[in-house]
Amino acid sequence: MSTLHLLVQPRDGEPFRHEVRGEAAVLGRSSKADVVLADRYLSRQHARLVLREGSWFLEDLGSRNTTFLNDRPLAQPMPVRPGDVIRLAESRIVVTEPGGGAAAPAAGDGLTGSTDERLPESTIFRPASEFLAGPAVPGEGGGLAARMRLINEVHRALAAPITLEALLDLILDRVFVQLQPEEGAVFLRDEKGELKRAALRRARGITGEPLYSRRLAQEVTEKGVAALVTDASADERFAKAESIVFSGVRSLLAAPLLDSEGCLGMIVLSAKSRLHPFQEDDLELLMALASAAAMRLRNIALAEETARRRLLDRELELARDIQMAMLPKAFPHLGGIDVSAALRPARTVGGDLYDVMADGERVWLLVGDVSGKGVGAALFMAVTKTLFRAIAPGSASVAEAVSRMNRELARDNERAMFVTAFAARLDLATGELEYVNAGHNPTYRLEAAGAVAALPGPVDPALGAVEVHEYRSSRLRLAPKDAVLLYTDGVVEARSAGTQAVETPGLAAGRVVPVPSGAAVAVRGAVAEEFHTQRLESYLKDCRDETAERIVQGLLERLDEFVGDAPQYDDVTILALRWLGPS
């Protein structure tokens, strides 16, 4: 597929077909763009279609209001194929089959209606700006006072705090009193930009499928025009039109919910058996109401978004607190060992864990790291820790305990969550250390004699990944005063300032957005670097005579120094244990 066929629907112009040949095509408002779209909200060079290894990709060119592919904002170049719908500001481009037959854009908004249905010839469209420019001027003297009163009333009602539901109710209330439609509906754009019916009211006795016309919605919400159908049945062409959507509708009014930022949705009123069809001054009244409502709607949407985010933040904080509370802060006063541990959480909810547990003359150790971030990882971490507590004591070997934990974690694990873990058991009498490495960073042994080395042994799969696996234990005998250091990859993968990964506030918690390294270089003059095992090893060589607590705290300090003011994007867990010798 080297030629790409497009059906271009600019906001401010006539639709046209375009074939993209060659290697690339720039889409934009600029006359220098390869596909020029008349849409004042577009960037001059908004997006680009580019051919890579036989496939067309769409990429955003840093436009002001981004590019959407099938209603998803484009974070990086994505492949396009027939049937895809590209949205740039308020213009649409449908990728079609080579024949030119427009592949139907993906439906799925739950609303019926087709794109090419005809609107009745008697439809009058008027730009909303005409209404918004000045105060509404009702055409007839009769209802003037009543109408002014209505608008005033709505404005006053909207000055007080109001919920979205109450606002929609209020609008429909007033509209039914004043304009007596048979059906009134408010459509709002959801977060994906799709129109959804948010409120519906009908006069008594009205049944059947509520009215929705995609074509009308497009006209009204994308072009920002108000529409008036005066008497559809009187129009010969409309009587013959096949559209089922309009069947029986005599008269219709539609107004966009517009504010300075754009269109939030629309209000549609319709009547089948109206003696007096809607008039232009009805449309003006509806526009006045719609513009008052739109302003308020935007505020409600913003307030709800803020409240939602705050709630989510609180929930995540709570999850974090619960998670941290599961970790032992003080350790059982076990004769013969000196132990200390720290888990420093990244700002988001993550999935690191550690545990230290006495079991008769022995002590169990565990450090783990759940794949991914967020609430899912936190829950998986909690399950892992609980399983460890339940299974480990009394197990014949570390291998047996870990194999059982794995079976439990892998069961019904459709999402394939997994946790890398290093589990060990130290015999306090003999210094024998038995351990299993389940896909985790190797533990270091700090010999009393001074040598520092990673513990040898096989690496088995992280827990939860395969349903049945027999994990393998390794064993070695510590000398008195030997120490071990367990940790997670947050230590060795900590990045220095100039880092390429930053957290972006405002995005869903748990998301880390990479910044192009070029930008990092330009701003900071340094390229990100990882702490790496070399730095860890060289630090540990200085720890020969330190207490476990000093080893842990000292490493945290080293990390802080190294990382500088770069944000921490992964949990950091450190556990140090020194065996003091047979008690």
């Binding site: 890579r52 496939s55 794949s371 991914g372 459709e414 394939a416 997994f418 690496v459 088995d460 880390v512």
Partner: protein, 116 residues
Amino acid sequence: MEIGEERTAGALVIVPVGRVDSVSSGELERHVVARLDAGERRVVIDMAGVEYISSAGLRVLLVAAKRLKPPAGALVLCGLGPGVRTVLELAGFTSLFAVEPARAQALARVEAQASA
């Protein structure tokens, strides 16, 4: 990350390019799951263009492997660079995947598995 695709007579080749990290792995997962939901049973994931994969990315490969367990399905990975290979080894996952050096071998193996 970008995701390319190629369909051969016997298999679907999915080609992620760039970094498969905690952000982009979600996109890769949606892509792969959509293809599996649509009935793809013989899949090659060509990792030649992947410069980095995080544990979240590994999870996506595991999801695919679980759903394409032989004999009903087949998944073969190929084109693993040293970075990706190391991450796979560190997680203890090398034994969990069928891995081939390059796409041609991977396709041959997928077809062999399917006809076995």
